[in-house]
Assembly symmetry: C2
Homo-oligomer: 329 residues x 2
């Protein structure tokens, strides 16, 4: 865990700190680089492959490039469940590189971490996560905790206190004559805030490990149902890739383009229609399916099922409704 | 507003940025210096006077001291309502210094800002706040909005967007065919979070300006009642200073110390009793009155009335109960 830091001592470390994350990672990673004073130029975007996974050889190449400039690569963010494609970076390969160069391994499992609760789906997606120095995991996403419930986990005990403690003795008195172990205020960056983790505790008490596993498996089952229905209607829908989690990426195909062979030109046409169809959904008030471009494609739809209350009938309705609203586009 | 920055252009500014705040300010100011990469050594604590207000001549002296070291003083945090004593830094005096040296004036009115809603109490406490470049104001404190509702206000329009925008086009699409003015996500540091300001909107609709004014005046009336009762029982309670807002700072005096003249030695004795009396309150389950030391005094009690549902009878009960639980200490 960050061995160079401890062996060499902080006084010997000099030079520009640089962090690395995939070009598919959440924008908050880059935002962190801005806020904490590194600067966005020192948050290096590592190319990803066609399925949205970080390419480990590219990571190593970019680390070496910064090293030759005298910089100090210190941190890699490995995304488990990217926002758009739901892709999982290869944790073990990235962990090997972090170990080789003495870098901190952070796993951003904010979106995909819920699948840890499913024996069926946790591997190979999250294999190696136990090697992380820190992990982000948002129960308010896949696990359905109410907004907001966002957690961070560290391998090193006491790290939050040693980093964040400001010892405000007018607020966090150490001379109280009763148990102060749960006075956690001085560990965290923010002060007076919700006890957001309590919601997760209640939920876990109610559902248990088994309940959460069923929840995760059900979401994946619904996703697989949607993929099946899209493939069955391949004249009307174009599946962009087999999903790794609940993100289903696809284009809707209106009548006039159904007999046109798929090509970059057709992708451009399909992309242009996304905002128009989305506006019709909003005006009609029946659907809210998001769309976005990525580095390789123009706009495409991305459907997410994150509530176990969704049914197969809802999936059927979604696809039929998109066709009803969009077939003349 | 921060004129040097604009006139000179960013490329000409070099050197260590330094911020200033009073030694009575909230610990989160120092924490900010740590998080955003300035380092806590570059958050200079300006001495305050006996009543807890920043001393403007000390501020100017410390600014000059850093300038002679080649540093760039750029930011002053002026506290309106300190955490412990409820003191208000002299905004106009501090604003004059900020203007003189081309520095950003931030007013931390998180605690005291509610008094802006009272014509009776806003002056002189918050006089000059209109000169601030930015203001923090937490409706979840004095105004009774439910945790959490914390706001920040800037004089310069568009600043949040120009500072925080990461242009994540996969989340904040600009090609939507409907009104996106309220898609505010790209302005803020955090991503998926509560719409906490909605609570304030509802509350303001229900209470109106007049309702909030009555709320503020009532809190101050209750505070004045408490001060009066403490003075009437000066054998049992020692008022440390006349409060500027709802913070009432005092010592409780047990029987054995009632005939001892007040002195630094008696203060030490009274301070030692605070945790013991607090523990008795917690064990009895009847009161939760906080205590803390400050730079000039050992532990003392600080009572806060921030709910308009408190009554004069509650204040009487509080003082009687402290005496019941503590008179033998």
């Amino acid at each position: 865990m960050f061995p160079n830091y401890k062996e060499k001592g902080i006084a010997t470390i000099q030079g520009q700190l640089v962090m690395f994350t995939s070009d598919q990672s959440h924008y908050s990673v880059k935002s962190c680089a801005s806020i904490c004073g590194l600067g966005t130029d020192n948050c290096v975007m590592v190319p990803s492959d066609e399925t949205g996974r970080m390419i480990p050889t590219e990571l190593e190449r970019l680390i070496m490039e910064r090293k030759t400039r005298g910089h100090l690569p210190f941190f890699v963010c490995c995304t488990s469940g990217t926002t758009v494609l739901g892709a999982f970076d290869p944790i073990n390969d990235i962990a090997d590189i972090c170990k080789k160069y003495g870098m901190w391994l952070h796993v951003d499992a904010a979106w995909g971490g819920g699948l840890l609760l499913s024996k069926k789906y946790r591997h190979p997606r999250l294999t190696g996560i136990e090697r992380a120095d820190s992990v982000t995991w948002n129960p308010h996403k896949l696990m359905g905790a109410l907004l907001q419930c966002s957690t961070i986990h560290f391998k090193e005990d006491g790290l939050l206190m040693s980093c964040n403690q400001m010892s405000a003795d007018y607020l966090f008195m150490q001379d109280k004559l009763y148990d102060i172990r749960y006075d956690t205020g001085d560990k965290v960056i923010q002060c007076g805030r919700h006890n957001d983790i309590f919601k997760l505790w209640l939920q876990w008490r109610a559902k248990g490990d088994d309940g959460f596993e069923q929840h995760m498996d059900r979401l994946m089952e619904l996703t697989e149902y949607m993929v099946k229905k899209i493939k069955e209607q391949s004249d009307k829908f174009y599946l962009i890739m087999e999903p790794e989690m609940v993100n289903v990426s696809f284009w809707y195909i209106p009548k006039r383009l159904r007999n046109v062979p798929h090509s970059p030109q057709r992708e451009q046409e399909l992309g242009k229609m996304c905002p128009v169809l989305k506006a019709r959904m909003m005006q009609e008030g029946t659907l809210m399916v998001g769309y976005q471009p990525d580095d390789r494609r123009p706009n495409f739809f991305r459907n997410i099922i994150s509530s176990a209350a969704v049914t197969e009938e809802d999936v059927d309705f979604l696809l039929n409704e998109m066709d009803r609203l969009g077939n003349d586009l």
